[in-house]
């Protein structure tokens, strides 16, 4: 069950499983890291330069540097986990009937896993030549 807590103490008491408490902690830690990663990404690729500068050549150029590849993959993985877990909280809150919930959840997770695989394969199978 989703944790609705205001303090770490409440969260510990409300969590029925260790996994749920770990997700609660994960949301806070990944959130802190994502503040820097995502706002940095938005600043560098949208505020500083134009969105239409994201041409094919620009993407190829950027990804030929392993440091950017790592930055982008960390961004991809953390945003994916943080966002999907957040969406799971919403699904648990608003999809009330059990069979519906299972299917909404499972189809959602399947689509997301496919997009995550596409992003990861895209980043790492890539060869600038």
């Amino acid at each position: 069950m989703t944790i609705r807590a205001r303090t770490m103490q409440d969260a510990k008491q409300q969590s029925h499983t260790n996994a749920e408490l770990n997700w609660w902690i994960f949301m806070r830690i990944s959130g802190l890291i994502l503040i820097f990663l995502v706002l940095g990404h938005i600043y560098m690729t949208f505020v500083q330069v134009s969105e239409s500068d994201a041409t094919f050549d620009a993407v190829i150029n950027k990804l030929s540097n392993p440091a950017w590849k790592f930055y982008d993959w960390l961004l991809l993985a953390l945003t994916m986990l943080h966002g999907v877990n957040g969406a799971r909280y919403s699904i648990d809150d608003y999809v009330r009937s059990r069979p519906n919930r299972a299917w909404v959840r499972n189809s959602f997770f399947t689509v997301v896993a496919m997009i995550f695989a596409l992003g990861t394969v895209g980043l790492f199978s890539f060869n600038p030549n």
Binding site: T7, L39, I42, F46, V47, F56, V111, V121, G122
Partner: protein, 118 residues
């Protein structure tokens, strides 16, 4: 703290901005990943992003991310300090202020480029 007051609005906006960012993020990953299929397919999709509504909507994405980030900090402060809960209302107005200032700054940087079509 919750019903019908600032705390409730903060919660709704956090969920709404979170789900909106996730939707944008999933589309963003798919469209950027298209470069593995070559320049033609990549640019076929990305050419469409020059459309003015899309470029203006990106300012909203930047705004939503800043709200979500700052309200996330507010949540962390509430979770781990007693003072955070006591001042959650004031913190929320701070979150709104930072989000508005950032959005104006982003619009100031982006709008001239959109107007000039670059």
């Amino acid at each position: 703290m919750y019903k019908g007051r600032e705390g409730q609005w903060a919660f709704y906006l956090h969920r709404l901005s979170g789900l909106a960012i996730l939707a944008y993020f999933l589309i963003h990953v798919i469209s950027i990943s298209l470069f593995v299929f070559g320049e033609k397919i990549y640019m076929a999709v990305h050419g469409g992003y020059d459309f003015i509504l899309f470029r203006l909507a990106l300012i909203l994405v930047a705004a939503g991310v800043m709200y979500h980030a700052m309200n996330g900090l507010r949540i962390i402060v509430m979770d781990f300090t007693g003072k955070g809960v006591a001042y959650q209302r004031q913190l929320w107005y701070g979150v709104l202020l930072i989000s508005v200032v950032w959005t104006i700054y982003v619009a100031f940087k982006v709008l001239p480029r959109v107007a000039a079509g670059v």
